[in-house]
Amino acid sequence: MAFTLYTLIQTAILCTNAVAVLHEERFLSKIGWGVEQGVGGFGDDPGVKAQILNLIRSVRTVMRVKVNSQVRMIVTFLLQGVFTGWHIF
């Protein structure tokens, strides 16, 4: 399995994009992972689920600061083929 650093960067971009695209009310609330349900535990032990929810929310907040970051990331990913000769596809 010949991984390169380039595939690592690609994977990182795609995963961040996927986390940023998770829609709050259409998807996360339906499976019980909404924001209002996760903030309950202020005690000593937040639990794994609360940590994951915090992580998703913070990634989304960071990504939303830039306008249309998703479009930007997809464009970056697709444009790499122009310079490297479409060897990914």
């Binding site: 390169t4 032990d45 994951i52």
Partner: protein, 303 residues
């Protein structure tokens, strides 16, 4: 024609200047013998002075004010660039912290390598502290270092090239492919461990560089396995890899137990509770991932 050659030799780089001037000197010596003759005789009297002047000017081009000014300007630019790089690099990679991890000596390296291959007799796994900072690896065999992982990684790439060469599958690009592939797996492993440490909210003083060091210790076992496989065949490869996998497993568990688990659990008493169970699972899975990686990164080298 020789005149213009010496003129152009005066303006060029020192090496070509010297070459041109030596060529002119040899031509000049030939023209010395031709001086009795004809039209070029008038120019040839200036000709011997020409290459000599070019030679002397080549020796002392620094006295030329323009070039000395250019040199001081260039050196000030270089020192400015160096300062900027130092300042910015220290923000991303903490150089002073890295120095701690490379403060090793031969005795430490020998003991640590022995510990990586045979950790069963070692009794005390705690890192000793000195006024709240960990002691340098030179003084404590339990402290993590980056020297062994770095050397192990480089040796692994070289041994992989050697193994591929014995199978007639070698080409210089493959060395780069092996190196980047192993590096990517290392980075992914460290990121996964960091993510899982964050998710389980473990309060630990393990830094990222510590995790990098611990993940890099498996290269020692891999090298031992591959070298044994090269020397003695597939059976030796499997046996030595099995031994090194077990050794790394025990090593990781005993080292991480002190850092990840709470005080009571680390001493061997069974402490109930979901948190401690999660931490135990995390320690086990980190330790179990090492043999998997060791096998994954070496099996294609021994056929």
């Amino acid at each position: 024609m020789d005149y213009t050659a010496s003129q152009s030799g005066f303006r060029q780089q020192p090496s070509t200047r010297l070459r041109n001037s030596s060529a002119d000197v040899s031509d000049g010596s030939q023209l010395f013998e031709d001086m009795s003759g004809s039209g070029p005789g008038a120019y040839s009297r200036n000709q011997p002075a020409g290459p000599q002047a070019a030679w002397y000017a080549g020796q002392s081009f620094l006295s030329d004010p323009m070039s000395s000014l250019a040199m001081t300007y260039g050196s000030s630019l270089a020192s400015q660039g160096k300062d900027m790089v130092d300042k910015n690099l220290d923000r991303f990679i903490p150089i002073s912290k890295l120095k701690y991890y490379f403060a090793v000596d031969t005795v430490y390296v020998g003991k640590k390598l022995g510990l990586l291959v045979f950790p069963y007799m070692h009794k005390n796994w705690e890192v000793s502290y000195q006024q709240d900072t960990p002691v340098a690896p030179r003084f404590d065999v339990n402290a993590p270092d980056l020297y062994i992982p770095a050397m192990g990684f480089i040796t692994y790439v070289l041994v992989a090239g050697l193994a591929l060469g014995t199978q007639n599958r070698f080409s210089p690009e493959l060395l780069g492919v092996q190196a980047s592939s192993a590096l990517v797996w290392l980075i992914m492993e460290v990121l996964l461990v960091l993510l899982s440490l964050y998710l389980i909210t473990v309060n630990t003083d393990l830094t990222t560089i510590d995790l990098l060091a611990f993940s890099g210790y498996k290269y020692v076992g891999m090298i031992v396995g591959v070298v044994a496989g090269l020397l003695f065949g597939r059976l030796a490869y499997f046996l030595s890899l099995l031994w090194c996998c077990a050794a790394i497993f025990v090593f990781m568990i005993r080292t991480l137990r002190l850092k990840l688990l709470s005080e009571a659990a680390a001493e061997g008493k069974l402490v109930r509770g979901a948190r401690n169970q999660l931490r135990m699972y995390l320690t086990m899975s980190i330790a179990a991932a090492q043999p998997v990686f060791m096998y994954w990164l070496t099996y294609h080298l021994i056929r």
